[in-house]
């Protein structure tokens, strides 16, 4: 088990920069997720940690030791690939035992370790089978067993769940987290799925176009997004123009055309100073109520429902306030509102966040 440190890493492919200067510290034993849309450089970062790609600039430290010159097979890693990458010509037991042959493990201890690893992934009885005879979910469990049986310093997972179907994916998510908790290995997990990232991570690194947008706990990136990109990428957000009147006493006073004046906690308005600003309101925090409802402590506006997207326990409304379209995701109480209905939309000011206006990029 070891910490991982990417020190001012840059990766260029020819003239294309896939990873802009990035500094990333992953403490020992943490579960850190690189989250971002396809093509933002997640895999590139992971492959540099693995030693499958050389960084163009910067240093990679594992356990405090520079590993730029250490080839992949000497880095003591476990990697789980998107498509399992099991050895098709070896049995499950031979797959899991593979890494042990390259370590100082006495031959007599190998079967025991293999059995323990298969036990850990809850597939104790498939050792004699070939990978082809297993389902996708089972193959991914074997890939995980193979990666952790060697007690690696770092476990790297590149979209390991994305080849599985939805139900299985959620089961495996819980399973993977349970196993990681149990063995406590430093883990770097790559995904483009925000719910995976939120559910599993100690820390999330949100990336966009080769840059780190924000690094923080799931709550931090969810509740206080550092940029409009983060606010939009993690769930649905309403991002509106506003004006900041004043920041004092732990409160930032905002004024938005639709909702009037209200104060948000300064902790959720980092970097905002008096002048133009942006307000960020998560779709789940915008509450749709019968017209004329007044609620203590809510900022409200009259609205009309345009589209209803029914999702079972929740419903997603697209509504119009003045000439602005907003979205709201609410729990369903009895029945959702109908399309065309007049409603009152409201939110608590403390659920709102504010961002400085971003320079166009």
């Amino acid at each position: 088990m070891s910490s991982v440190h990417l020190k001012n890493i840059v990766k260029r492919f020819g003239s294309f920069t896939a990873v802009h200067p990035t500094d990333l510290e992953i403490p020992e034993g943490h579960f850190v997720t690189l989250l971002g849309p396809s093509g933002c450089g997640k895999t590139t970062n992971l492959r540099m940690i693995a030693g499958l790609l050389d960084p163009t600039e910067g240093e990679i430290l594992i356990g405090g030791r520079r590993v730029n010159e250490v080839p992949i097979h000497k880095r003591n890693l476990g990697i789980v690939f998107q498509n399992y990458a099991l050895f098709p010509h070896k049995t499950v037991a031979q797959n899991v035992a593979f890494g042990l042959h390259y370590r100082d493990v006495p031959k007599s201890e190998i079967p025991g370790k293999v059995a323990a690893a298969l036990e850990l992934v809850q597939l104790p009885d498939v050792g004699e089978r070939y990978p082809k005879a297993l389902s996708g979910g089972q193959q991914q469990r074997i890939a995980l067993a193979r990666a952790i049986v060697t007690e690696p310093d770092v476990l790297l997972l590149d979209e390991p769940l994305s080849a599985l179907d939805a139900n299985l994916r959620e089961d495996m998510r819980v399973e993977l987290k349970r196993i990681q908790d149990k063995i406590g290995v430093t883990t770097v997990f790559v995904t483009h799925d925000q719910s995976e990232a939120l559910a599993m991570s100690d820390k999330i690194v949100v990336m966009s176009a080769g840059r780190v947008e924000q690094m923080g706990t799931p709550e931090e990136v969810y509740n206080t997004p550092a940029s409009e990109f983060v606010a939009n990428f993690l769930g649905a957000s309403n991002i509106l123009d506003a004006t900041c009147r004043d920041v004092s006493g732990g409160t930032a006073q905002l004024e938005a055309p639709l909702f009037g004046a209200f104060g948000v906690p300064a902790a959720k308005a980092g970097g905002v100073s008096p002048g133009p600003a942006r307000m960020v309101l998560r779709a789940e925090k915008l509450l749709i109520q019968p017209p004329g409802t007044t609620a203590e402590g809510q900022v409200q506006a009259e609205a009309r429902i345009e589209t209803v997207d029914y999702q079972g326990q929740t419903v997603r409304y697209f509504l119009r306030v003045g000439d602005t379209q907003l979205q709201a995701i609410n729990m369903i109480d009895e029945r959702p509102f109908e399309e065309g209905a007049a409603v009152t939309a409201g939110f608590r000011p403390q659920d709102c966040a504010a961002l400085p206006v971003e320079a166009p990029r």
Binding site: P71, H73, N76, A85, L86
Partner: protein
């Protein structure tokens, strides 16, 4: 199309096959003829010509030459072919397309042209004909077949399987022998077999390149034919057919069993 049309086509196809395979069947049949003329009518069934064949020193020598030549060609061609395929598929070689085309080219160039070209080139360098040169020639025109077969297989082997092996602690060389080679073994064996049969079968290039006094089975048959059509030739033809048809079939069967076992 009418039923009659189909019948005509079917009849025509049968005639084409007869034309192709009847001579082969006749040779095989006549090789068991007891008569001392290598032609009809059959006067009885006998292994006599095979026994004579086994006692004919020139033919035995030719067989030994052909087999040694074929085995060496297969070994060298397969080794080079595997290395070339690895380089072309797994590493970014500058000008990979050009190299690939050059390696495949000997298939496209008529063999006579290739044979003459190599000979002239060696004359130019002042090198004499030798067994090594013959071997060299055979390697050149069997190599493309090996590369085509092995490359096709290698492309289908996922890179992440090799990366997984390396991440688990196997060096690149260990990864090759533990993962890549076993996965492409059916193609490697098929390539080796191709190389062997093509070499064993070849006459054009061999006639140009062979040093005096050295005969392979095809050139030996060719030489014998110039004197007379002895029934021994029928027997020799039968042996050749068994080797060049039977070996690839056997190889294909082995390859199939292997790939079934590896669960591909």
């Amino acid at each position: 199309m009418t039923g009659l049309g189909w019948h005509l086509i079917r009849g025509y196809a049968i005639l084409v096959y007869l034309f192709m395979f009847l001579p082969v069947a006749v040779v095989v049949l006549l090789s068991f003829n007891a008569s001392q003329f290598g032609s009809f009518p059959m006067t009885g069934f006998s292994f006599r010509w095979f026994v004579e064949l086994a006692n004919n020193d020139a033919i035995l020598r030719a067989f030994r030459t052909s087999i040694i030549l074929g085995l060496l060609t297969a070994l060298i061609s397969t080794t080079l072919g595997v290395l070339a395929s690895l380089a072309l598929v797994r590493y970014r070689v500058p000008g990979a397309n050009l190299v690939s085309t050059l390696l495949i080219a000997p298939i496209l160039v008529p063999e006579v042209v290739l044979a003459v070209a190599l000979l002239l080139f060696l004359n130019f360098l002042g090198i004499n004909k030798s067994f090594t040169l013959l071997l060299f020639g055979h390697v050149i025109f069997t190599l493309p077949f090996v590369i085509l077969v092995v490359q096709a297989r290698l492309v289908a082997i996922r890179r992440d399987v090799e990366e997984a092996a390396m991440s688990l602690g196997a060096s690149p060389i260990q990864t090759f022998f533990q993962i890549t080679l076993p996965l492409m073994l059916p193609a490697v064996l098929a390539g080796a077999l191709f190389a062997f049969t093509i070499s064993f079968d070849d006459i054009t290039g061999t006639l140009f390149w062979k040093p005096g006094g050295v005969e392979t089975v095809p050139t030996q048959i060719f030489a014998m034919l110039r004197n007379s059509i002895s029934p021994e030739i029928n027997a020799l033809g039968t042996v050749m057919i068994v080797m060049t048809v039977g070996l690839p079939l056997l190889g294909a069967a082995i390859a199939r069993t292997l790939s079934k076992k590896s669960g591909l």
